[in-house]
């Protein structure tokens, strides 16, 4: 019987990190990630974990320290949000191109400005091309489970890519929920020891990190990153299944809800998926064959799995919690539509929840009605619809 405790998303991720016992953590506080690092620092101060915590002067330094420690051969994590991620931007790309399996909880918060501390996905969406694996969690349990899995995925020899676990600021990070924890020994056995192929501290085998790539070299290194991201598909699948055997909670790329006979479906990320499932139930009571696809993995983007999960749906609504200016809809919509190119379905863009604005069940029921009507009228394309905006 699993042990259930009441934890916030931040505490759940910090607990996972304590159980993983990374060698090094670099830390700089930013709302709403701050409590995660507080909790982890408390574990360190109490002697519950022997991680070397480096207190740095900015997020740029946090990622730089993580890169240095990882190249030295350590298992490393840091965590951030919003402006913090924006400030570490340069190093985020370098971590990926140096192929360092750094793990980073990314507590989703809107990017300034205007300054706002509440949830949307504009921060992590901005680095979707940085070369990181991106996992989105729906609740504290998933934040815990995915943090544990992230190390295994990131560190697999044919992957070696940094991995961020994205979860919604405040909605998940500051909300207490029952979380089933594994025992410390189970986690230790699951993640195993980290044995890097190369480590700067191994002075018997010197090598250079971060050398200059001239035009005759750079392109090949980028191609290697493409391959690593392709290999990540099987890593995510295998690790998710193995974790399922251990915990009873198997993970894949996405999760469908009432999709078997669904005619219209909503695709979303993060905590909104729970609201969407309730909305799907209500929509079905009103005679709409509604379903929900929760996308768990955003990078690598699971195109094959998504196409399969969409089954016989005729209309698809994509709910973006971030925005792209100068093009209709948000990044999730663009990716979904791109991967369904040539498809007969209507794929409609919705943007909601920017800057932490709540999305309610009845609003998503309205989305299902819009999708049903689009299915009847044959509408295939239209400008983005903003949910909950004062018009």
């Amino acid at each position: 019987m699993a042990k259930y405790v009441s934890l916030t998303g931040n505490d759940a991720a910090a607990t996972a990190l304590r159980q993983v016992r990374p060698d090094v953590a670099s830390a700089y506080p930013i709302t709403p990630q701050t409590e995660l690092m507080h909790k982890f620092a408390e574990f360190v101060a109490n002697g519950d974990v022997d991680t070397e915590v480096i207190l740095v002067e900015s997020e740029h330094s946090a990622m730089s320290a993580a890169i240095g420690a990882s190249a030295a051969g350590a298992r490393v994590f840091t965590a951030t949000s919003s402006q913090g991620l924006a400030l570490m931007w340069e190093m985020v790309y370098i971590a990926a191109s140096c192929r360092l399996p750094i793990v980073m909880p990314e507590v989703n918060r809107a990017l300034s400005g205007p300054i706002n501390i509440h949830c949307d996905h504009s921060d992590s969406m901005g680095c979707r091309d940085a070369g990181w694996i991106q996992i989105f969690a729906e609740n504290s349990q998933e934040a815990y489970d995915s943090t544990l899995q992230a190390f295994r995925i990131a560190e697999r020899k044919d992957v070696l890519l940094p991995t961020m676990i994205c979860f919604d600021g405040f909605i998940i990070s500051h909300t207490n929920e029952p979380v089933a924890l594994l025992q410390d020994a189970q986690v230790a056995a699951f993640v195993g020891d980290y044995k890097p192929e190369r480590a700067l501290l191994d002075v018997e085998h010197p090598f250079t990190v971060g050398g200059l790539d001239m035009p005759e070299w750079y392109f090949e290194h980028k191609r290697q990153q493409v391959e690593a991201m392709r290999n990540a598909f099987s890593a995510i699948e295998a690790v998710g299944q193995e974790f399922g055997k251990l915990s009873g909670r198997p993970y894949g790329f996405l999760e469908g809800y009432r999709m078997d006979d669904a005619e219209c479906a909503i695709i979303a990320l993060g905590s909104t998926c729970g609201t969407a499932r309730v909305a799907a139930d209500e929509a079905r009571e009103q005679g709409i064959k509604a379903g929900v696809i929760k996308l768990r993995i955003f990078r690598p983007f699971p195109m094959r799995q998504l196409r399969q999960a969409l089954g016989r749906t005729k209309t698809v609504g994509v709910l973006d919690r971030s925005i792209s200016f100068g093009i209709e809809g948000g990044p999730l919509f663009h990716e979904v539509r791109s991967h369904l190119y040539g498809d007969d379905r209507a794929i409609l863009p919705f943007v909601y929840g920017l800057g932490g604005r709540d999305i309610r069940v009845e609003q998503i029921v309205e989305v299902f009605k819009t999708l049903r009507d689009a299915g009847k009228s044959g509408l295939k394309d239209r400008d983005v619809e903003f949910i909950g905006l004062r018009e």
Partner: protein, 103 residues
């Protein structure tokens, strides 16, 4: 280009997987001024060796024996640091050496 490794053959992460590769890689191609050293004038104070940022002053048995023109970028620090009463190292435009072996 054909001799360079493919993306499958190349070490990942942009690492240079062995030490000492900077000795093989000649990096003096952009030098525009060449330091010329006079062995007769040199008093072996080793200031040039101390200050050279590219380890391009060649020293053997505690004495300067020459300059590594494969790695010297021509910054002129050696000439600047050479004592004013000695002036054993002077900088000369590379154009003066056109036709001769450059690096």
């Amino acid at each position: 280009m054909s001799k360079l490794p493919t993306w499958k053959e190349l070490a990942i992460g942009g690492v240079i997987p062995k030490a000492g590769s900077s000795i093989e890689k000649k990096t003096a191609g952009w030098r525009s001024n060449r330091p010329i050293r006079s062995n007769e004038k040199c008093i072996q104070c080793l200031r040039c060796w101390i200050f050279c940022p590219d380890s391009s002053i060649l020293v053997k048995d505690g004495k300067v024996v020459g300059i590594d023109y494969d790695h010297c970028k021509g910054c002129g620090i050696c000439a600047e640091e050479c004592p004013k009463k000695v002036v054993a190292i002077t900088m000369h435009p590379e154009s003066e050496f056109e036709g001769s072996k450059k690096d």
